[in-house]
């Protein structure tokens, strides 16, 4: 039986990860809609969502055939690769080593690129615009699909994990339609930091389960692992921050 203690970390991980990805896809789709009209934007989005739907339909039966312990090990390793990569980047961004992701800048770049492409090739501009929306939805959506499957598949939590992702999509779309501009005020790096912590915790937990580790407290160990990664991540930010030279 699924309890809140088990489902809550899965729901919050997919919800937060999906917010980050959906905001990025929304920025591109909004740029396409603004420059070229909503028809190619929505067509590209619908085609992208169809590809993602087919991907889920194809992966579902495959996942059910893999023995649980092997599935946990494979998903655990993938989550470790994915989660630690996100956490590393978020730490380096928080320390000022890597530039923060800027939705306004991404929107301006996509708008300029579409305007330029439309000027050069007026006959194919709807196609180019639709393709840009399609690419954004597929590329960001694949990450959402992976996080949902990775967090949910090991413990029968696919539905709660999918609900977390769906709630994030609806929230971003509702806010996006209301403000009608890039959602640049979303604290993206903070979200990525949190998601990196959670996915790393899930990654260690599933990898351990796949290796046959008996975690103390069973599923509650995920919360403990999350606290460890959060503490390490926060401690690493000032260590990574470049030291300021004192002017003479």
């Amino acid at each position: 039986m699924i309890t809140w203690a088990t489902a809550a970390p899965a729901i919050s991980a997919t919800f937060l990860a999906s917010i980050v990805e959906v905001v990025e896809a929304f920025t591109i789709v909004l740029a396409v809609g603004t420059v070229q009209g909503w028809r190619p934007a929505l067509t590209g989005t619908a085609a992208g969502l169809s590809v993602l739907g087919l991907l889920v339909l194809a992966l579902g039966p495959v996942i059910n055939r893999i023995p649980l312990q092997s599935l946990q090990l494979v998903i655990g390793i993938l989550l470790l690769l994915f989660g630690l990569r996100w956490l590393r980047k978020a730490i380096l961004r928080a320390a000022g080593i890597i530039a923060l992701h800027d939705e306004d800048l991404a929107f301006a770049k996509e708008t300029a690129s579409l305007t330029d492409a439309a000027r050069r090739d007026a006959t194919r501009r709807n196609w180019i615009a639709g393709l840009a929306a399609f690419k954004a939805v597929v590329l960001e959506g694949v990450e959402v699909v992976f996080v949902v499957i990775a967090v949910g598949a090991g413990r029968g939590l696919l539905w709660p994990a999918a609900m977390g992702a769906l709630a994030a999509c609806l929230l971003v779309l509702a806010i996006g339609f209301a403000v009608h501009k890039p959602l640049s005020r979303v604290p993206e790096n903070t979200l990525k930091f949190g998601v990196g912590v959670m996915l790393s915790a899930f990654g260690v937990y599933w990898t351990g389960e796949g290796l046959g580790v008996a975690w103390p407290g069973h599923d509650f160990a995920i919360l403990g692992l999350g606290v460890v990664f959060l503490a390490v991540g926060l401690a690493l930010v000032p260590i990574a921050r470049p030291s300021q030279e004192i002017p003479r």
Partner: protein
């Protein structure tokens, strides 16, 4: 074809961004697997080693990233 290649490249990029980080994570997991397989120790010790290994890999990768 270009789109499929782009999507594949992006998919691999989800897991491998910094090659050293990815290889180190796989080495930690492989070490734990060898211990679990040959020492037949599936107790909490393997879990603790996994946590320490991953934290160590993260620390080293962040410090190297900051130095670059």
């Amino acid at each position: 074809m270009n789109i499929i290649r782009l999507i594949l490249r992006e998919f691999i990029g989800l897991f491998v961004d910094d090659e050293m980080l990815a290889v180190s994570i796989l080495a930690v997991v492989a070490g734990c697997w060898l211990l679990a397989h040959y020492v037949h120790d599936t107790s909490f010790t393997i879990g603790a080693l996994l946590v320490i290994g991953c934290v160590g890999v993260l620390l080293s990768s962040v410090v190297q990233g900051a130095r670059r």
